[in-house]
Subunit: 258 residues, 2 copies
């Protein structure tokens, strides 16, 4: 798949990159998505490539908010579909929430290929030893022209009436800023995962997990499972996204000084 020699000092990082490049080959990830992945890599490098305390704090609040949601929905783009399909399926199961395909660059057939990719992983999940007989493998919803988001011009405005359109909390990892803003303007809470604490998405989301989505999803699923409803409301009301983003920025600055 790659000609990176094993002696290359960044062999592991370069090999991980191949996962997202494979997403392009499969027609799931857009080439623009690769550039976004590179931006994420740079910020992850600055963050230290581990889940930091500010991310743990945000994951804890996100677990509470998603647990309390009446109609949570998981928005899926081409990057997360390629990187963490099983994590998305697991999150949908834990929350009993649908996945909804929503992408920016709509090369012909890409939305459908993302759906098929998720269904393949969902089918695998449903028949896995741990899940046999367990209900709740999530639906995969597709954009429609019946329901549209306000405050947005791009293709991403087309959503599913039973999905993002009626959601009270939307989990939108690796998001673009304008859709995050539109969802907030429509009164929805947004939980995002973004390695850049200065991005518009990070600044506008209700809860921003500044971490690599590959590390975040297992932790988030675990937290949601363990949360008690009685403490969730307090956790959400006490959470300050502004304070968490400030800690993330301070961390990056210290790294730059080191």
């Amino acid at each position: 798949m790659t000609d990176v020699p094993k002696t290359h000092p960044r062999y592991l990082s370069l090999t991980l990159r191949d996962t997202i490049v494979a997403g392009v080959a499969q027609g799931i990830t857009s080439v623009h998505g690769l550039i976004a992945h590179g931006r994420g890599e740079a910020f992850d490098y600055l963050i230290g490539e581990t889940t930091q305390p500010f991310a743990i704090e945000a994951i804890h609040a996100a677990a509470a908010m998603l647990r309390l949601a009446k109609h949570p929905v998981i928005s899926v783009n081409g990057n997360v579909a390629a990187l963490v399909p099983d994590g998305l399926i697991e999150l949908g199961q834990v929350l009993n929430a649908p996945l909804e395909v929503n992408i920016f660059h709509t090369e012909t057939g890409r939305e459908q290929r993302i759906r098929e990719h998720l269904l393949k992983h969902k089918a695998r999940s449903e028949t896995s030893p741990a899940n046999v007989g367990v209900e709740g493998a999530p639906d995969v919803l597709m954009p429609t022209t019946e329901a549209q988001l306000s405050y947005i011009d791009s293709n991403r405005k087309f959503v599913h009436p039973d999905g993002i359109f009626k959601a009270d909390v939307v989990f939108v990892p690796l998001e673009d800023g304008d859709r995050c803003e539109a969802l907030r303007k429509m009164g929805k809470a947004v939980v995002t995962v973004d390695l850049n604490p200065m991005s518009r998405t990070a600044q506008q989301a209700s809860i921003t997990i500044v971490d690599n989505v590959v590390r975040t999803l297992p932790l988030l699923c675990k937290e949601i499972r363990e949360f008690s409803d009685s403490t969730a409301a307090d956790t959400v009301s006490q959470y300050s996204n502004e304070a968490v983003l400030k800690k993330a920025l301070q961390h990056i600055s210290r790294c730059g000084n080191g």
Copy 2:
């Protein structure tokens, strides 16, 4: 070419990205190169998307070093070929130095397509009103199996005997760390352009211009033209790459605090 709406707040940045995506479509840029471009975008964002004083200082020293070189060579990969073909040709003309194609991921025929892309721009340069009758449009050299770099495992070890192999100074923008290290071990001076001041390339090059190559090349060509040989040696001997990298890091850290 793109479906990014003009009302999108990052329209310009997204449109610029299309240049490098087009490089992929033309078979010049590797998909891995797109990820690297994204990393660069992130660091450029932190740097402020302008050429900062630490870059000006490095460009000044690089102009002196390249001017004094007996056998300078310009190494070209798929990203710079897509982003700045005319700038590379101009630099080759100013220095009377060959371009040499040298890439990490060697998908079939990509080296040849980069060469053809450069020759197209070189031909255009040779017949442009400013250059008619001017000699020195640079040669485009290709890797050979006759000459190999030491200290390197990947495909990048294959070089041209009259190019990188015998160069005393190599200009290698958007480089990967292991080749930079190999070139230094072989006693060659390396001038690089890298937006990440912490990268191995940045740390190991003789002169690191922490800037976007799109902004750097015109400034570098102008400086080389204006340099007098009598001051060039002093400029090189007084330059400290370590000090310049430290300034770049401090700048990024201040940005993080802002």
